[in-house]
Point group: C2
Chain length 381, copies 2
DNA sequence: CTGTTAGCGCTTTCAC
DNA sequence: GTGAAAGCGCTAACAG
C-alpha cells in the first residue's frame, strides 16, 4: 500500500539492503552500529547507503529501542543570561555524550511548565532538566508524573520540596548573607532589596513578609533569607518597606527603586537579586540623577559581561554557570544510565566579584562602621 | 513477546481500547481527534484513558503520519541577545500553531552547523530555521540536502547565495551606512570599525580588505559595505587600518580597539558591528582611560537592555527581534503548509536609537561639519 | 555472521 | 460509526 506521504520518501534500510544485496538485518546492523557484520558485507552496505543517500530515521529507531537520545531542558527565560550560560554548559556535555536537547522556556509560569513537561513526555525524552516554578508540594504533580514514568529529572537553580531528585544550585543564602554583611561592615544600616517576594502593598509587617517569602521561588527565597539573616544577626532591624514587592520586570524594578529612594529614610545601599533587577536599578539611578557608589552602594546577583563596563563597574555575585550546566547534565546522564541512588542537592559555590559599586555609608560614624567586621572578597579580574 | 523495555511501559491505545470496551481504531480516533466517533464511545474512551493515565506517544504518531510537529532552529550563539530575542519571536508563533522547537547552537562553526542539520533531519523535523555560517555556494550542501528532502528551510539574519529559500533579515547595509553618515555629518573623518572581516594583519590594502569581505558572513558583509559606501560616497578615504580584523570575541574586540587608539592618527568615532563588539570597546575605553563621547564617539549594532544604563547611554542600532522571529516562523509555517512559491528575501527595518554616545568631532572645523548634511533619527525612548 | 520474523504504538484503508 | 488488518522504519530474538 502506498500512502500519500510516500511522495516525500527517503530511502529506508530495506532499500539499502536490497541495493547492497544483503538481508535487511545485516544492513540494519551496519547502519546502526550494533551486532557484528563481516567487513565485506559492511562495505557493500555502506556503499549502497552512500549511493542512495540513506539517513537513519531517528524516530523509528527511538520507537523500537525506547530510547530517544534526547533530553528536555525547561528554563524560566532563555533571554536571561543566567539561563543562556547554564544552557551552554548543559548542551556541551550532553552533546559530548551523543544526546540532543530540546529547550523550552516557561516565563516562570507554572502552567507553561506543565505543558512543557507534557510535550517532553510525549516526545519520549530520556530525561529532563528543569528550572521549576513550583513553590510547594502542591504543584509538583507534573514532575511526579515524569518520575513515575521513570524519566529521570534533575532540578536546576531551585530545590522543590517533596521530590526525590538531584538539584543543582548555588549557595544562595550564604552568598546573599555575605553580600549584606559586606554592606553592614561599611556602615550601611538601611539596605534596600530589589526583586523581593510579591506581596500586598498595604501589608508591611514582618509577618506578611515572612508569609510572602514562603510563596516565592526557592532561589529567591534563599536569597532574601540570607539578607534577613545578616540583618537579624547583626541586630539591624528589618524594615519591610525596604524590600521591593513588584512584578519581576526591569521596568518595575526601576519603579521599585525610585519608590525606595523616595522614602522618608531612603536606603544607602541596594541588593539586587537578579541581573534584570540591577538593570532596573540603574535605570532608576539615571532618572533620579543619583550617582553610585557615593549616593548609593550597589551589589547584585548574576554577573554579566556588561557589569564591568559601567563606570564604576559593578560589584556582583557570580555564579559558575558552565559548571552548573555541566553538573546538571552529568547527573542526568548518570540517572539515564541507570544510577538510582537518592536525590541529592548539589551546591556549587558562587562568589562575590568586588568592583567599585559599593563604599562606606556616608552617614555612618566610624564606630558604627567597625561594629561589624568586614568580610571582603579579594579583588578579582 | 516481552522486550526488556516493557518495564518502563506506558499504557497504549490498545490498552485504553480494551478498558473502554471498544476497538483499537475507535480509541485511536477519539484520542487522536480525527475521523468520527459516537459521543457514547468517545466518552468511554476518554474515561478509560484518564483512568489509565494514557499519554499519546508522539514518536509513534510521527512515524506513521510522517509529520513531527517539530521545527528545528539553528542559531549562531544562544548567549547572544540577538538570537535569544529572535528565538522568543520564533517559539511564540510556532507554539501558537501547535509546533515545538528544537534549538541548536553552532558557535558560528560550519561543521557544527552541518551536524545540526543532520540531527534535525534524522529527527524528522517538519522545517528548519537557520542562521547559517555558510558564506558562499561552496558550503551549502547540507542545506541543499535538507531542501531535497522537501524539508522547508528559512534563513535567518543572513542571505546565502544559490538557495531558493526565504530569508529574514534587516537592512544591514542601509542602516550601517546611515550610522556612518551621522558620524560624518558630525565632522568625523576617521571612523573605526570593530568586528571587521578577518584578514591577514600584514595586508592593509583596499584589495585585501575587499577580498576578506567576500569571505565574511552576509550580515557582517552588508554592514561593512554600508560603512564603506558612506565613506566612499562622501569622498572620505577608507583606511583599512581603522577596520579591526580580530577574532570575534569581547576580549579581542577590546584589544582591537586599543590598537586603533594607538595608531598615529587614531579614530575619533567607532562603529561596533555587534553588541559583544561594543562591550569590548567599552572595556578598552575603561582601560585606556578615555571618555565618550568627548574622547570618542560610539555607535553600535544590536541594542540591549544595558545600553541605556551607561552614562551617557549608547546610541545603537535596534533590530526588531520579535518581528524577525515571528516572520521567520510564519514563513516556515507557510512552507510547511505546502506553499511553494519562490524564495524571497524579507527585509525588516532596523532603526538607530539616538542616545548620548556620539557627538561632534572635536578636531573638525565648522566647514567640515557642514560638508555632509545630517541625517539624524529623531530621539526615541 | 546472517536472514527471517515479530514486534514498537500509532494511523489509515477497507469492509461491514 | 466501527473493527480488523496492514503498514510506517526500525530493532531484536531466534534459528541456522
Amino acid at each position: 500500500m502506498i500512502t500519500g506521504r510516500a511522495a516525500k520518501s527517503q530511502p529506508t534500510i530495506s532499500e539499502v539492503a536490497l541495493a547492497a544485496g544483503v538481508g535487511r538485518a545485516t544492513a540494519a546492523r551496519t547502519l546502526g552500529n550494533y551486532g557484528s557484520v563481516s567487513s565485506d558485507a559492511r562495505a557493500k552496505v555502506l556503499a549502497a547507503a552512500e549511493a542512495l543517500g540513506y539517513r537513519t530515521n531517528a524516530l523509528a529507531r527511538s520507537i523500537s529501542t525506547g530510547v530517544s537520545k534526547t533530553v528536555g531542558v525547561i528554563v524560566g527565560d532563555i533571554g536571561n543570561p543566567y539561563f543562556s550560560g547554564v544552557l551552554r554548559g548543559i548542551t556541551d556535555t550532553i552533546k559530548a555524550r551523543g544526546y540532543d536537547s530540546i529547550i523550552l522556556s516557561t516565563d516562570e509560569n507554572l502552567h507553561n511548565e506543565i505543558d512543557a513537561t507534557s510535550v517532553l513526555s510525549d516526545k519520549q525524552v530520556d530525561g529532563v532538566i528543569l528550572a521549576s516554578a513550583a513553590i510547594g508540594a502542591a504543584d509538583i504533580r507534573h514532575i511526579d508524573s515524569l518520575i513515575r514514568r521513570r524519566t529521570p529529572v534533575v532540578l536546576l537553580d531551585r530545590v522543590v520540596p517533596g521530590l526525590d531528585v538531584d538539584s543543582i544550585v548555588i549557595n544562595n543564602r550564604a552568598i546573599a548573607k555575605k553580600a549584606v554583611q559586606n554592606l553592614l561592615a561599611l556602615g550601611h544600616r538601611r539596605i534596600g532589596y530589589i526583586w523581593g517576594p510579591t506581596r500586598s502593598p498595604s501589608d508591611n509587617s514582618r509577618e506578611g513578609l515572612d508569609e510572602s517569602i514562603a510563596r516565592t521561588l526557592w532561589s529567591d527565597r534563599e536569597r532574601i533569607k540570607g539578607y534577613l539573616e545578616a540583618l537579624d544577626e547583626n541586630g539591624v532591624g528589618v524594615d519591610p518597606l525596604l524590600i521591593s514587592s513588584t512584578e519581576k520586570t526591569e521596568t518595575m524594578a526601576a519603579h521599585a527603586f525610585e519608590l525606595l529612594m523616595a522614602l522618608p529614610e531612603p536606603p544607602t545601599a541596594i541588593l539586587a537579586a537578579e541581573s534584570p533587577a540591577m538593570i532596573g536599578v540603574l535605570h532608576g539611578i539615571r532618572r533620579t540623577g543619583l550617582t553610585y557608589p557615593a549616593g548609593i552602594s550597589l551589589i547584585g546577583f548574576d554577573d554579566t559581561s556588561w557589569s564591568e563596563v559601567l563606570e564604576p563597574p559593578l560589584t556582583m555575585v557570580r555564579q559558575p554557570l558552565l559548571a552548573l550546566g555541566n553538573t546538571a547534565a552529568e547527573r542526568l546522564m548518570l540517572r539515564i544510565g541507570g544510577f538510582d541512588g537518592p536525590g541529592q542537592i548539589h551546591t556549587l559555590p558562587a562568589e562575590i566579584i568586588s568592583r567599585g559599586s559599593i563604599t562606606h555609608c556616608p552617614e555612618a560614624t566610624p564606630t558604627e562602621r567597625s561594629e561589624v567586621k568586614p568580610r571582603f572578597e579579594q579583588q578579582s579580574q
